[in-house]
């Protein structure tokens, strides 16, 4: 992380844009926006040297509400774009963001490979167990018996997956879960994730008040700080085996070699061209 260059420290407000979010009042994503900007402020990352990258969905609208560089790409590809940016520009702080549909369904393949690749960036998923933007269909984290969508009137009949388990088995080197109902806690987790060297994944339970109004109950169910951090894969896996998805905290952190090719220029183009000569 770079040292602050500003005279006056930046506050989380400095990392917000003046653009009014399109979100429904009460949407959990407001808190996630607050958490991300607070984390950026805590680390005093120069605005011009950070980028928030997203795909498509309500949650993926987040880049426009920050004042750093942003990229609002296409559905499911936030991690791919973020990977390209970070590998090509290792000097930047890169945060990928999005929803559970964006990240685990259409972008599921990239999630798995981002965990494996271990590029030094952070991925924040606002998990509301539903596709908000397209008006309420089931996502890979939706319980199989949820009958709220016309698309799957009898429930999906498909088991939801636990993103933390997938991240763990795919090799993510930092894994945490937070809750939009606790923005300060979420901000801490995100800041810790951003300081981690390698790929860090933070699932934030972020209620959709419109298509999953029952998620208003989450504030009663979610247990703050119940996860104990470990660097041991077996311990983390054992915890997840009985996890109901409502505990929060850092689950796992380890150090693995990060994916960052050295980008040192040590040949001229004519030296390369000489290899074509007979």
């Amino acid at each position: 992380m770079e040292q602050p260059v500003q005279q006056k420290p930046l506050t989380f407000k400095d990392y917000k844009s003046d653009y009014k979010p399109v979100w429904c009042p009460g949407c959990g994503d407001f808190s996630v926006l607050a958490a991300i900007t607070k984390a950026l402020a805590e680390l005093q990352i120069p605005r011009e040297n950070s980028a928030v990258i997203s795909g498509i969905g309500c949650s993926s609208r987040i880049p426009a509400y920050t004042s750093v560089y942003g990229f609002h790409g296409i559905h499911g590809r936030a991690l791919a774009s973020a990977t390209g940016l970070k590998v090509a520009r290792p000097d930047l702080t890169v945060v990928a963001t999005g929803g559970d549909g964006d990240g685990f369904s259409i972008g599921g393949n990239h999630f798995m490979h981002a965990c494996r690749r271990n590029v030094d960036m952070t991925y924040v998923v606002m998990d509301n167990e539903v596709y908000g933007m397209t008006k309420g269909q089931a996502s890979p984290t939706t319980p199989s018996d949820w009958e709220g969508s016309k698309l799957t009137p009898h429930g999906t009949g498909v088991s939801p997956f636990n993103p933390l388990s997938v991240a763990l088995s795919a090799g993510a080197s930092f894994i945490a879960r937070g809750f939009a109902g606790d923005p300060n806690g979420a901000a801490k987790l995100i800041a810790q994730a951003m300081q981690h060297k390698g790929f860090s994944f933070v699932q934030i339970l972020s209620p959709c008040v419109t298509f999953r109004p029952e998620q208003a109950e989450w504030k009663k169910i979610v247990r703050k700080g119940e996860i104990t951090e470990t660097g041991d894969l077996g311990t983390a896996a054992a915890f997840l085996a009985t996890d109901d998805g409502f505990s929060t905290g850092v689950l796992y952190e380890t150090q693995r070699p990060i994916y960052q090719p050295s980008m040192e220029e040590n040949h001229s183009l004519s030296e390369i061209e000489a290899s074509f000569e007979l």
């Binding site: 011009e48 609002h72 296409i74 520009r89 990239h110 007979l278």
Partner: protein, 574 residues
């Protein structure tokens, strides 16, 4: 013919050393002052299996196959009939086989060509560590008039690492082969020796895929993300180590959706970025191409076309991705489509394409194909070019920055991370000038116009097409078909016919002004393309005024165009 050429096909079972012998023959020919082209062909086996090398040598630069082969050299008869359709012969062609090989297939015994057997395995057995393919190299070298010192120089270069004994055995084999061939030449009255001109020009040996990689580097590309696919993989294999040398890198992505979005990310970061793929991969990338157009992020996608649709014929050439490259994007998405017209032009066109993408802040697709990408050519070292990626960037500390400002040129200065005051959100949503999402009709019209304007108004100079010769008949083509068309026109010129060649390097946008100028004095046209559904002709019709008297010669892969069939078609037009 303006230049004398000799065409040699070498075939053999896996492990016979067909490709090694072919490559050595080509390189030795170049050492001896000749030019040449080598195309590889192989059976369906993943590894091993029968292989064929098609080589054409010439005293002048050459970049397309001839109508037929002068020599078919078979190390054995193993599945040689698999290549039958690729091996046109004439009555005075010669098929050379091994005395020791039994039961030649009917493709050989029924051939109109002359057939001779030589002591191939037997000669190899006479030498300790001797290999039939080195005997073959000697035979073919002698037949083409390549002197021993050129062959020896290549052997020394290639076998340096294998030690003295291997080199000596190979050299002895080559010498023995040359002896066998000179006996043969007198025996059957064969004279294929090529005239060799002294030259002080540096020669390069490279494939179109390597040339495309080099062009990308010259153009300033420093980031690549890609997923392997035949026949584009060699671009990636070439780029990976060479990007590393110049401070860049290549990421092997999990799929083409990832690779294209990764390069969009890299380019958003200000680093000129490229990916290479073939038809199936391009199909997967089309959504992201729309994003690059909309968010105005320069990227280059090289499509090394192969037979389609679907998996099609992955190892053979076709131009049938033209439609998807031109029209595959959703929405109104003006972008650049280019096509190199020869193996060496892959270098120029790749470099130019990078320049266009960067300058115009849009997606550019370069349509190469298998026959350009995977064939090896001996060329004169190309000149350095001035096209180096140069984006219009805003100044550090910019105030009230409008990323998508409506400018006359349509090009809005870009900000990249690191530039203070430039913080903006690149978006696939339609935006207002200030990059804020907008669904207003006014903003949509203005941005659509702007994105079209920058592409339409740009000065593409002379590079949009190769225009050669004069005549009231124009042959219009693009890509790898250019070389056989050019040779056909040259042959007809020798018969006194005047024909104009127009080969488009810039397929999109269309440039009606320059095209009309190129067509002045033309009242008849022939469009030649390697597709089944006349994709190129239909496109030309939709964007250009063609003469009433326009004909089409469209032929899909897998067989290459040969100059003779184009000559025949032109003659038929009268």
């Amino acid at each position: 013919m303006t230049s004398q050429t000799v065409s040699i096909a070498i075939t053999g079972a896996g492990g016979a050393g067909v490709m090694t012998a072919g490559q050595m023959l080509l390189d030795a020919a170049a050492k001896a002052g000749l030019y040449g082209l080598m195309t590889r062909s192989s059976g369906p086996q993943i590894r091993g299996g029968e292989a064929a090398a098609y080589i054409r040598l010439s005293s002048a630069p050459i970049d397309c196959p001839d109508d037929s082969f002068d020599v078919l050299f078979c190390f054995d008869w193993m599945n040689v009939d698999r290549f039958a359709a690729e091996l046109p012969m004439r009555p005075n062609s010669v098929i050379i086989g091994d005395e020791a090989a039994k039961n030649p297939p009917t493709m050989i015994t029924d051939s109109i060509a002359r057939q001779v057997l030589v002591p191939l395995s037997q000669s190899a057995n006479e030498i300790e560590g001797g290999r039939p393919n080195m005997i073959g190299l000697g035979i073919l070298g002698e037949l083409a008039g390549i002197p021993l010192d050129a062959l020896q120089a290549i052997l020394e270069k290639v076998l340096k690492r294998k030690g003295e004994a291997a080199l000596l055995a190979s050299l002895e084999g080559v010498k023995l082969g040359m002896k066998v061939a000179s006996d043969l030449e007198t025996e059957i009255g064969l004279d294929l020796h090529l005239e060799r001109k002294a030259t002080d020009k540096t020669r390069w040996s490279l494939t179109g895929n390597e040339a495309a990689g080099m062009g990308a580097l010259r153009g300033g590309v420093r980031f690549c993300a890609a997923y392997p696919i035949t026949p584009a993989t060699e671009i990636l294999e070439w780029l990976a180590p060479n990007l590393e040398k110049v401070g860049g890198t290549l990421v092997q992505a999990e799929d083409e959706l990832a690779s294209v979005n990764m390069i969009i990310g890299g380019s958003f970061g200000g680093v000129p970025s490229i990916t290479a793929t073939s038809g199936p991969g391009l199909a997967l990338m089309t959504e992201a191409l729309g994003l690059a157009v909309s968010a105005e992020i320069p990227i280059v996608v090289v499509d090394v076309m192969r037979g389609g649709p679907s998996t099609g014929i992955p190892t053979k050439s076709e131009q049938s991705d033209l439609n998807i490259a031109l029209h595959g994007l959703h929405g109104d998405a003006p972008h650049i489509v280019t096509a190199p017209n020869s193996i060496s032009d892959c270098l120029f066109t790749a470099q130019w394409t990078v320049h266009l993408a960067e300058k115009l802040q849009t997606a550019a697709i370069m349509l190469s194909d298998q026959s350009l990408g995977q064939s090896r050519n001996i060329i004169d070292k190309p000149a350095d070019l001035a096209f180096v990626a140069k984006r219009d960037l805003v100044e550090d500390g910019v105030e009230d920055y409008k990323r998508y400002a409506l400018t006359d040129s349509g090009i809005s200065p870009m900000a990249v991370p690191g530039i203070k005051g430039g913080e903006y959100v690149a978006d696939g949503l339609e935006t207002a000038e200030n990059a804020r999402p907008s669904s207003s009709a006014e903003d949509h019209y203005a941005q659509l116009d702007k994105r079209q304007r920058k592409i339409d108004q740009f000065d593409y100079g002379q590079h949009w097409a190769e225009i050669e010769g004069e005549g009231d008949l124009a042959v219009i083509t693009f890509g790898s078909v250019t070389a056989p068309v050019r040779e056909a026109i040259e042959r007809l010129k020798e018969e006194g016919q005047k024909i104009k060649l127009i080969s488009l390097r810039l397929l999109s946008p269309a440039l009606p002004g320059p095209f009309d100028v190129a067509m002045e004095g033309v009242n008849k046209a022939l469009v030649v393309e390697q597709t089944h559904s006349k994709q190129f002709y239909r496109y030309l019709r939709s964007v250009y005024d063609l003469p009433k008297n326009t004909h089409v010669l469209a032929k899909p892969g897998p067989l290459p165009f040969r100059p003779g069939e184009i000559v025949d078609q032109i003659k038929e037009l009268g």
